[in-house]
Symmetry: C2
Subunit: 190 residues, 2 copies
DNA sequence: CGCGGGTTTGATGATGCTCAAGCCCGGTGG
DNA sequence: CCACCGGGCTTGAGCATCATCAAACCCGCG
């Protein structure tokens, strides 16, 4: 869990004992590809921090196809924030894209953690601030770019990610059909 | 500023002296319609809390039309979070849609505030968490719904807002042209 | 009364989806 | 080792959604 410590160090300063104590609030989970952390219709109990691997969040639209709205790779948190905060049923699923190692925490444990370690209040403030900022930009891109531009932008920004993830998930994340992605790629190739 | 106190009370508990002290970190700004709080290309120095009125954030796309990405009404914060956090140039503008009263705070003052009143760390954590959750849902809607559905959804959820704001801004916010909004409305009318 | 910003209408065309089919390739069982 | 899946990627035809452009209209306001 050194990578989690290194991650925390980017936002707050804690010593080793403190970190050890903080760690006790989390549960380490190792899962293989396609493992479901969360299923829609059930209470969103936990949030997940990716130590290694990759998760995705998706929903099933009225046509029955899975629509990916978020990926989480190393050092990212993922959950259905709205449902988590209120302990509601989620209408999302969270699934492992690869074999992954994840830290899990549930709401009451997190509250306990925040009480015992108020510095974590600052940590989560910064994490959410960052997440929100990313989200703001993402929304802008969705407004600003055509599907083709989205793909080009994404693949130049994260070429390694394109390699790592199957194309139909990329298409699903960018909000279009695999067929159309295929067309775009063909066009770019020529 | 009782409304700001009432707003804070929803998240944290503070007494009157504490609130008075907190208030000193903010600057109260009264502006009229069309006032520009932020202009693109300039450093994003502050964040803004709307006490009364309505602000919007927009950018100008390559065709020269303004694209609204966010509204802030009473009890909402608004800024270019990414640029604010890093004190970068913003590529957004923030403008008053109506005559408004706003609380302004800049980054170093906010840091000072957080140092003096650590409870505000918790407040902002919750604010960002909420904002992020809203953003997540928004992204889902953008994936899930057609433009027409977006409009119907928005106008049933916030009918009073539709009254309050000119249509071309609604269209801009929902990501389509005023012409198309007009068509949708005509269709719904019949 | 005329001006101008906002809304409406309609014709035309691009973008991106649907559906159906074929292809490629790695894995599995015989 | 080969035959055969079957999942994912590709191709193409046809179609819906939505943008563009131009024009008219409406109405509040100076």
């Amino acid at each position: 869990m050194e990578s989690f410590k290194a991650h925390l160090d980017k936002f707050i300063s804690i010593n080793d004992e403190e970190f050890a104590s903080i760690l006790t609030f989390f549960r380490v989970v190792e899962v293989k590809k396609k493992h479901n952390f969360m299923v829609d219709g059930e209470i969103c109990k936990s949030m997940y921090f990716v130590v290694k691997g990759c998760l995705r969040k998706f929903f099933v639209n009225e046509k029955g196809t899975e629509q990916t709205t978020e990926f989480a790779i190393e050092n990212w948190w993922i959950t259905d924030t709205f449902a988590y905060e209120r302990q509601f049923k989620s209408d999302f699923c969270i699934q492992a894209v690869e074999k992954s190692i994840v830290l899990e925490i549930d709401l009451s444990t997190q509250e306990e953690l925040l009480r015992k370690h108020p510095v974590m209040e600052r940590y989560f403030r910064m994490i959410y601030q960052r997440a929100y900022a990313a989200s703001e930009r993402r929304i802008r891109y969705l407004y600003e770019m055509t599907r083709e531009e989205l793909y080009v932008h994404f693949s130049t920004l994260y070429p390694w990610f394109i390699q790592r993830i199957p194309q139909y998930l990329i298409a699903s994340f960018l909000g279009f059909t695999p067929e159309y992605l295929s067309e775009i790629r063909a066009k770019l190739r020529s």
